[in-house]
């Protein structure tokens, strides 16, 4: 029987020889596989949350669509607080409560219009 060490050496040599006999196609495919694996290093790191961006955008669009689909709310024309605030905030609007002099003028003007 072959000495264990010699046997191990012999099996190693034979296996190395079989590797040396790999055909060109296999070698080429191994090289391609290596390059494909290494190309991962060149790709920029992707943040986990980026994969959720399209889904998030779609959900937001759906919520907006539902909100708009529900139609105009039933609101009386006089009860629009936004317009009232705009009127009061407008610097060009007449100042009704500034002083008594102007108020007297508006009362006189109203009387003239009625007569």
């Amino acid at each position: 029987m072959t000495d264990p060490t010699d046997f191990e050496k012999r099996t190693q040599e034979v296996l190395e020889e079989s590797v040396g006999r790999l055909d060109g196609r296999t070698r080429s495919r191994l090289t391609q596989a290596r390059h494909a694996a290494l190309s991962q290093l060149e790709q920029p790191a992707r943040h986990w949350w980026r994969s959720y961006v399209p889904a998030g955008a779609a959900a937001a669009a759906a919520v907006l669509a539902v909100f708009m689909w529900s139609g105009p709310t039933t609101q009386s024309p006089t009860a629009n607080p936004v317009e009232d605030i705009e009127l009061l905030a407008d610097s060009d609007a007449p100042d009704f409560v500034d002083d008594g002099e102007d108020l007297e003028f508006y009362e006189w003007a109203a009387g003239e219009v009625e007569s």
């Binding site: 072959t2 012999r10 099996t11 296996l15 190395e16 079989s18 596989a33 290596r34």
Partner: protein, 204 residues
Amino acid sequence: MTAFVTLAGVYSTADFRVERTPDQDLMTASRALDQFLSSVEKRAFKIAQLALRNDDDALDAVQDAMMKLVQAYAARPAEEWRPLFYRILANRIRDMQRRRTVRGRIMAWLPSRDDDDEEFDPIAEAPSHDAGPAKRLELDEAIGALEIAVAALPPRQQQAFLLRNFEGLDVNETASAMGCSEGSVKTHYFRALENLRAKLGEVF
């Protein structure tokens, strides 16, 4: 450490240590990984081929192992790559063997397909380099006998034998690659040698 004076003040050489840019680090890592993978790819393919007995499956297994190593372990120290790579490869081979077993059970219920219509590709089948006819014949016989004997080993013995004897991993690295204790590696390797010696004693 050297100190020197400029208009702006006194500096030591430590203040001017060259900083590596991310691009330089990437290039270094890529080169080191390329070197490592090219050093193991052919033996890895042979190991996968002996375990799976199919060239395409073996190539897939090696490619998957390469991808996984680069993806998950590129930042690990280079001395850890070899056992990690073979561990990934071993897992991949085991998955493929299991899947093949399941597929085999399913296919057993279906009519058999004739596989003899595969075209012979002379370029693919051509050996990569020449040797003398007598030497070549002897090696052909030895390779054929060894490959049959190794392929017939139980999976753990086969793994231990190929990683220790063929890939040259030490007991510790083999244990890490196989996910078992060093004692188990020694047992599997010893039994593999016994089995192979019993089968190949006359040829070798």
